[in-house]
């Protein structure tokens, strides 16, 4: 069975890119455009892995991850943070919120896929 990935990003460009890359790699992909949208889609999507941006309107990536972790169904789903910033603070904040890992934009396709493959069962 193919794995399902939920990608949360407020940029249409990044969303489309993620979708292209992930679908080409054989994943099924659901998209959400901010944290609220992501949380709303989480149950229906039941993803095997989530990729989320940090800077988003309404609810940012940290809030989204915390919200996702608070739901027992998704407490253990791997969540990757997509970020343009790579400072240690940011990683710590992401981890505190419950992020599984991080990918720095712009991402390298092969690298992204290999990271995902490491994280999905």
């Amino acid at each position: 069975m193919t794995h399902k990935i939920l990608a949360v990003d407020d940029s249409r460009t990044i969303r489309a890119m993620l979708k292209t890359v992930l679908v080409n790699a054989g994943f099924r992909v659901d998209l959400a455009e901010d944290g609220i949208d992501g949380l709303e889609k989480l149950d229906a999507a039941a993803p095997d892995l989530v990729i989320t941006d940090i800077n988003m309107p309404r609810l940012d990536g940290f809030g989204f991850i915390e919200g996702a972790r608070a739901r027992s169904r998704h407490a253990a789903v791997p969540i990757l943070v997509l970020t343009t910033e790579s400072g240690p603070d940011l990683k710590q904040r992401a981890r505190d919120a419950g992020a599984t890992g991080w990918i720095v934009k712009p991402f390298d396709e092969a690298k992204l896929i290999s990271v995902i493959n490491r994280l999905v069962i």
């Binding site: 940029s11 249409r12 972790r69 969540i79 343009t84 981890r95 934009k105 490491r118």
Partner: protein, 708 residues
């Protein structure tokens, strides 16, 4: 990838608009924290996308801009009159960079460099830019994955047979962040041959323990495949750094003891790198409600979808067909014997008509978009023109939520830009002159949009000096457009500015009136089915009014018949209709005939002759006349065989499958399914009869009135 690129630039348009809108709010003081946040996100998203496409200049500039916005966001920097212009300039430049990247062309570096350094100075002045690396380039190196920790310089090539010894114990947090040791081991397995064993000594009696605290310790050996080094091995543990106890022992020279490596306790073993982070106590599951962080301004956002414009146009076309079919059906019904149509059928027909009308309106509304983005572009034009012309000017926009067909807003950009430049350059006085006249040194240009009786009216006002009619008349006389003895009203003089050949930029730029290429502006507006008029009050300013149809797809027209063909004359230009025998017609040489209406003599165009439907002039006494008027105020009477009725028609272009036809604007389909051509009234006015005379040589109506 090109699709993605297009998507990125499309998104950039929205992001730039959102940035511009935020800047506008900053200027007017109508901003809150979310305004800055949204601006920051816009620039940030542009940077992010630009990174994906390797648009280095855009990245670098967006980065510097983003830093400044971040300083404002974090209250390190206050927006004030000194730095606001820089923010505007930066916004404009960002937009230029986006355009340059879209067109894959270079733009001059000088200006960008100075703006960039200004932005950096501004950040530095408040010690800002700290949140993000100040040098953006390294951050955007193509190696995209951050390693998470500093890798030790291992540099020891691994022999194929050598094995690593790994001990690993997970913390509770490791599980809480979605990790699974089994996956880590699987990933290790991809690097070589792995043996794993669990050390169960630490597992307490059941019931004795906090189930949330993981207690298993794993011992693994990895015999790596060729080319796998310790960096690859550590990468597997990249995300769990700090979430586990991890030791990796590189194989020693005799590579025959991997299975026998001792299970050392973490504190006792020298661990390479920072892999010895203690197991953290499991944090209590934090449980913030999902909506704890929503920001206020975005919460009322309406849901939208993006639809390919072609799909919308197809829908609009189909609905046009529906309306036509409905009309055809109604016509067939009316031709049936009376008894056949019952009251029920009539009611159903009425409902069908109403429904198709509503559907048509709703579909048209899809293409409608607010003029806001158009107006925002103009604010930049005002700033730039004012700077170049040494004027002080501000733009006030009203009614920018007014919706207009997308094509109309797109095609208004050029003419409106032209008029705005005129208003600032020629309309507004210099600050000194304004002060002397007792006005605010800073002039105001007002751009207003409103719906009025089924049309969109856009007005452009300035509070400048108004048109210098004496000078305009003087120029027009020099150019032979009017004669000194012509009796012209003030409005006549103002409208001389729209006459082709009135002016070229170089000759009129010293006029404190306007007129730079206004004939071009007018023809652009006319091409959209619009009208443009101009009013001026000396000393108080000038107002240009543009009236446009709500949509380009439907037109109100008079159906007429000419030589057996049906034609449609748009009612926009129609002033009056005259039945046969109602008019006084006088003949001139070469079959020229003129309608006398009051004191006015109006040229008559025999439509059948002009369009080649008949070879010889018809007897005008048996024809009906349609009096049409162009924006110039010039009138012409169109002679037709009969006037059928007035109705709304759906416009069908001719160029798609055929080509433009002189004298014809488009086609439509009538209720009986027949095609009727829509007359281009403007061409009829500028080319009376089938004479080849170019517009410029035609007699001026004022001259006809007095000298014919």
């Amino acid at each position: 990838m090109n699709d993605l690129r297009d998507l990125f630039f499309q998104e950039c348009d929205d992001l730039v608009e959102s940035l511009t809108s935020g800047l506008g709010d900053l200027e007017s003081g109508a901003h809150d924290a979310e305004t800055i946040n949204a601006m920051f996100r816009a620039v940030h998203s542009i940077k992010g996308g630009a990174g994906a496409f390797g648009l280095d200049r855009l990245i670098a500039f967006a980065h510097a801009f983003e830093n400044v916005l971040d300083d404002i966001r974090s209250d390190k920097l206050q927006v004030n009159e000194t730095n606001l212009p820089l923010l505007f300039t930066a916004g404009d430049h960002l937009s230029d960079l986006v355009e340059a990247a879209r067109g894959e062309c270079e733009i001059e570096n000088d200006m960008g460099a100075s703006i960039l350094s200004d932005l950096k100075l501004l950040s530095q002045s408040v010690g800002g830019g700290a949140l993000m690396d100040d040098a953006p380039e390294p951050e955007f190196e193509p190696l995209a994955l951050d390693m998470g920790f500093d890798l030790p310089d291992l540099g020891t090539p691994q022999a194929a047979a050598s094995g690593y010894a790994i001990t690993f114990a997970a913390s509770a947090e490791l599980y809480a962040t979605g990790h699974d040791p089994a996956l880590l081991f699987r990933a290790l397995g991809a690097l070589g041959e792995v043996h794993a064993s669990a050390d169960v000594d630490a597992v307490p009696e059941l019931g004795d323990s906090d189930w949330r605290t993981p207690v298993l310790r794993w011992t693994l050996t990895l015999t790596p495949d060729d080319g796998i080094d310790e960096a690859a091995l550590r990468e597997v543990f990249e995300f769990v750094d700090g979430l586990c106890t991890l030791e990796i022992t590189a194989p020693s020279a005799p590579p025959d003891l991997p299975d026998l490596l001792p299970l050392a306790d973490p504190p006792d073993t020298p661990a390479p790198a920072a892999a010895d982070a203690p197991v953290k106590p499991s944090p209590p599951p934090s449980d913030p409600p999902a909506a704890a962080r929503p920001s206020k301004s975005d919460s009322a956002r309406t849901a939208t979808i993006r639809v390919d414009l072609q799909r919308v146009d197809r829908l609009i076309n189909l609905v046009g067909e529906l309306v036509i079919s409905e009309a055809m059906l109604r016509q067939s019904m009316s031709e049936l014997p009376h008894s056949a149509s019952s009251k029920t059928v009539e009611e159903a027909m009425g409902q069908l008509k109403q429904l198709s009308g509503v559907i048509q309106e709703s579909v048209m509304a899809i293409r409608a978009q607010p003029v806001r983005s158009l107006f925002q572009r103009m604010s930049r034009t005002v700033r730039e023109t004012a700077r170049e012309a040494g004027k002080q000017a501000r733009l006030v926009t009203l009614g920018d939520a007014t919706e207009v067909d997308k094509t109309v807003t797109e095609r208004l950009v050029e003419p409106l830009t032209h008029m705005i430049r005129n208003a600032v350059d020629h309309g507004l006085e210099t600050p000194e002159a304004r002060r002397a006249a007792g006005k605010d040194e800073r002039g105001t240009v007002t751009l207003e949009a409103a719906h009025r009786s089924g049309r969109v009216v856009i007005t452009l006002r300035d509070d400048g000096a108004g048109i210098d009619r004496r000078k305009v008349r003087q120029v027009a006389e020099q150019k032979g457009l009017v004669r000194p003895e012509d009796d012209l009203t003030e409005a006549d003089i103002d409208n001389l500015l729209f006459r082709p050949g009135f002016s070229t930029a170089s000759e009129v730029s010293n006029l404190s009136g306007r007129g730079v290429g206004m004939d071009v502006v007018r023809s652009e507006i006319q091409a959209l089915g619009g009208r443009v008029t101009l009013q001026s009050m000396p000393g108080q300013g000038t107002q240009v009014t543009i009236s446009l149809p709500l949509t380009l797809a439907v037109l109100e027209g008079m159906v007429v018949s000419v030589a057996g063909e049906s034609l449609v004359v748009p009612t926009l230009a129609l002033r009056e209709t005259l039945q046969p025998g109602q008019a006084r017609i006088d003949a001139f040489c070469d079959d020229d005939r003129v309608l006398t209406l009051g004191h006015e003599l109006i040229p008559i165009v025999d439509l059948g002759l002009a369009l080649g439907y008949r070879a010889t002039p018809a007897d005008l006494d048996s024809l009906s006349l349609l009096l049409i008027e162009g924006d110039s105020g010039r009138r012409t009477a169109l002679a037709v065989d009969a006037i059928v009725d007035q109705r709304e028609v759906v416009i069908k272009g001719l160029e798609q499958n055929y080509r433009p036809i002189p004298g014809i604007a488009a086609a439509t389909i009538l209720g009986d399914g027949k095609i009727a051509l829509i007359v281009d009234t403007d061409q009829m006015i500028s080319r009376p009869g089938d004479g080849p005379s170019p517009a410029a040589l035609l007699p001026d109506p004022t001259r006809i009135a007095h000298h014919a």
